[in-house]
């Protein structure tokens, strides 16, 4: 492989992108736009969720302190968990209230002669994240309420009971290296997603566009080898993807002040992910013939990678066969490594296997692309 030839191809590709100023600036500004969008959409954990508490007028007043407790219940960040509206009504009305979109959940109590016995929560089925919110917060809230009521009762005892055993205390924390905001949990995966998506989409058109505009014909009459063409294109698109990666990390840091670990290591990992995206895009471009084919194949691959990279669902939800298949995709290693560095404070000694695997994937994909790249024009 002649380095001079490779550089010529790289320059040719870069020049083609540079000459189209609209596309060039758009590519550079896109990461900023997408980051801002992600950041303001995953802006805060669900709080002050509209909730209705129904009370039956025939009940005793035991529901009142629980209602007050639910209304005043605050999340760990100090925000109110629920925005409560209390209204009279029987449990039969709950479903209708949800149907009418009056609230995300309706709470009502069932009472026996002994007082309030059960808390019923009817949640809107259409929003999975809010179902988890209610499941988690209401159960914490009730445990806290029960414990407080119990402590109150013990305090009212005339003298310490001989059989009373003090309860054990529970502390729960995470292994995070610093305090995390809601968006911090997603920011690492967003870095990988953008570093993968844009380079993959752009490079998937790299060869097919050359084919359709007859540039490839001219390149093929020169004695340039297939490997030189592929590596040259990879270098040019790789350079562009480094700019995209840099813009992504900078935007997330400056606009959203996301938690970042070792920045050099993050940049290295994101760059390796981006180059993996570039070479996969070139692979698609080498095996397809027209722009629409390349774009469709790129989009489908991107969605498949997205589903596997534990951005949307963790490993534990996958079918066992899919868990094994995920190991053969580079991006899951990228997400895992960047999350460890950003959130847990891992360093190079902890993530070097991930770096190695990402480099291995790049090498394997370059070889495969060179093999499958045809010198024929059509």
């Amino acid at each position: 492989m002649n380095l001079h030839n490779t550089l010529t191809i790289a320059r040719l590709t870069l020049k083609a992108i540079w000459n189209n100023k609209f596309a060039f600036y758009f590519i550079i500004l896109t990461p900023i736009l997408i980051c801002v969008n992600f950041g303001y959409v995953a802006h805060k954990s669900p709080a002050a969720v509209e909730t209705i508490i129904l009370h039956d007028t025939g009940w005793d007043e035991e529901w009142m302190p629980i209602t007050d407790f639910i209304s005043g219940y605050r999340l760990s960040d100090g925000s109110k968990a629920f925005d409560v509206t209390v209204m009279p009504g029987t449990p039969g009305k709950a479903r209708q209230l949800l149907e009418d979109k009056k609230a995300r959940a309706v709470i009502y109590f069932s009472q026996t002669s002994g007082g309030t016995e059960k808390v019923h929560v009817l949640v809107d089925a259409t929003e999975p994240l809010l179902i988890s919110h209610y499941e988690r917060e209401i159960s914490f809230l009730l445990q806290e309420y029960s414990a407080a009521a119990s402590r109150d009762l013990i305090a009212r005892l005339p003298e310490p009971s001989p059989g009373y055993i003090p309860g054990y205390s529970v502390t729960a924390k995470t292994n995070a290296s610093q305090d995390l905001k809601y968006f911090d949990f997603f920011a690492s995966a967003v870095i990988v997603l953008i570093a993968l998506a844009l380079p993959l989409a752009l490079s998937s058109l790299s060869i097919t566009l050359d084919r359709s505009m007859d540039v490839l014909e001219r390149v093929f009459v020169t004695p340039y080898r297939k490997s030189e063409i592929i590596v040259g294109k990879m270098a040019a698109n790789g350079l562009l993807s480094l700019v995209i990666t840099l813009m992504t990390i900078l935007t997330l840091r400056v606009v959203f002040d996301i938690v970042l670990g070792n920045i050099a290591l993050i940049f290295l990992l994101a760059a390796l992910v981006a180059i993996n995206g570039v070479i996969f895009g070139l692979f698609i471009s080498a095996v397809t013939r027209k722009e629409t084919q390349s774009l469709l194949a790129a989009m489908i691959s991107l969605l498949i990678f997205m589903s596997f990279m534990t951005f949307l669902w963790p490993r534990e939800t996958m079918h066992p066969a899919m868990q094994s298949l995920a190991r053969f995709m580079p991006y899951i290693y990228g997400v895992e490594a960047i999350r460890s560095v950003n959130l847990v404070g891992a360093g190079f000694p902890e993530v070097w296997p991930h770096v190695f695997i990402l480099i291995l994937f790049i090498t394997a994909q370059v070889l495969l692309t060179v093999l499958l790249f045809r010198r024929r024009i059509t």
């Binding site: 596309a23 758009f26 896109t30 736009l33 969008n37 992600f38 303001y40 995953a42 802006h43 709080a47 969720v49 949800l98 016995e117 059960k118 929560v121 009817l122 949640v123 089925a125 929003e127 999975p128 809010l130 988890s132 499941e135 209401i138 159960s139 029960s146 119990s150 009762l153 005892l157 005339p158 059989g163 055993i165 309860g167 054990y168 205390s169 502390t171 924390k173 292994n175 995390l180 997603f186 998506a197 989409a201 505009m213 629409t292 774009l295 469709l296 489908i300 969605l303 498949i304 534990t310 949307l312 963790p314 534990e316 939800t317 996958m318 079918h319 899919m322 895992e336 959130l343 847990v344």
Partner: protein, 376 residues
């Protein structure tokens, strides 16, 4: 606007799509492949998550009368969410957590009086797992903690029933029993249909400009509206085909909750046509494929985040809640979820359908106005 002209251009566009066999193949098998990938990835609720447990024993096991430690360990073992790994030291438990081998480290510390402290350290790298492990662990630890502390025989004088913790019953208003994937299947349909329709349409006009077909079309007296409508109609056929393939695959392979298949199909087609219309709008305002593709991919990403697929309105910044409301796909996801999960009928989803139809019209009018007859 002449119907005959639209018919000719429509047939030309369909023929072009039909002649590209590889693209058709990618469309059909790509959609099926995506359904399979998403369905088997969001396959089941997280279970058997590895938890590293270390018991800092004060004395011999079994010495304490109430055996809280043993009770907690039994409950942890019996939980369908957890798979316990015994760590030989506090350090090993934390090492397993930091090495991504365990999702949480639980240290049970005993003193002379019994179990004194439970220290739980959760994996910070995955919010979903963190929340599930946290809820389940605290449920076990607190339900164990309250009764053992306050059972009336151990605290004489307490009124009967006074210490029974309140029971919780949490249900949803779903019309049928749903699995984990059912909750995500509806927005997932929107995601793929939008992706395919948008990205196949973004280059519909720009590629014609590049290969010079536009020059020939502009030489004949076809109006801009006729060109746009015929392209939208031909590509809407793709939207119908892709919607049918996706709905069928999800239904046959994963038996997803779909209360009204006919209505779901109608919603899917409207979403697909919206994708086509938006793709044509991009294609009308850009000059070369690279510009169209960059703009198409960026818009697709923006729509994905705003459609309420990953995050609900409640997590969004107030401004972005308003922006989301003015995107067609937010209404698409809303309609699809309510049809599939709650069994809403046509009358109930009519406002969403009206939004979707309005957006189609608006985008087509805009594309017609913005399409330039100049070649360069």
């Amino acid at each position: 606007m002449r119907l005959q002209n639209i018919r000719i251009l429509f047939l030309m566009e369909l023929k072009k799509l039909w002649n590209d066999k590889l693209e058709l193949l990618i469309l059909i098998f790509g959609a099926i492949l995506l359904c399979l990938a998403f369905g088997y990835v969001a396959y089941s609720s997280p279970g058997d998550m590895d938890i590293a447990v270390y018991v800092d024993t004060y004395a011999k096991p079994g010495l304490f009368p109430h055996g809280e430690t043993a009770d907690i360990l039994t409950d942890l073992q019996e939980s369908p969410y957890f798979s316990l790994t015994a760590a030989s030291s506090r350090r090993e438990a934390l090492q397993r957590l930091n090495g991504q081998k365990s999702r949480a480290a639980v240290i049970l510390e005993e003193d002379a009086a019994g179990l004194a402290h439970v220290r739980v350290t959760l994996d910070a790298t995955d919010l979903t797992i963190q929340q599930i492990v946290h809820s389940e662990l605290l449920r076990i630890l607190q339900t164990q903690g309250i009764p053992s502390t306050l059972e009336p025989p151990r605290a004489p004088g307490l009124p009967e029933n006074a210490l029974t913790p309140l029971a919780l019953s949490l249900t949803t208003n779903e019309s049928q029993k749903t699995k984990l994937f059912d909750a995500t299947a509806s927005p997932f349909m929107v995601l793929i249909i939008l992706g395919v329709c948008l990205l196949t349409s973004v280059t519909a006009l720009t590629s014609e400009r590049t290969i010079g077909t536009f020059e020939r079309v502009f030489a004949i007296p076809f109006k801009r509206s006729e060109i746009l409508i015929s392209k939208a109609l031909a590509r809407s056929m793709v939207a119908v085909a892709v919607s049918a393939i996706i709905l069928l695959t999800l239904r046959l392979v994963f038996d997803i909750a779909m209360a009204r298949p006919g209505l779901a199909m109608l919603a899917a087609v409207l979403i697909g046509i919206n994708g086509v219309a938006f793709g044509l709008l991009i294609s009308a305002i850009t000059r070369i494929e690279l510009e169209s593709v960059s703009l198409g991919i960026t818009s697709w990403f923006l729509f994905i985040t705003l459609m309420g697929f990953m995050w609900p309105l409640e997590t969004m910044h107030p401004w972005f809640q308003s922006i989301a409301f003015f995107t067609p796909f937010f209404h698409g996801v809303y309609a699809m979820r309510h049809i599939n999960l709650l069994g809403w009928d046509l009358y109930q989803v009519l406002p969403s359908f009206a939004w979707l139809s309005g957006f189609i019209l608006l985008q087509l009018v805009l594309s017609t106005l913005l399409l330039k007859r100049e070649i360069n």
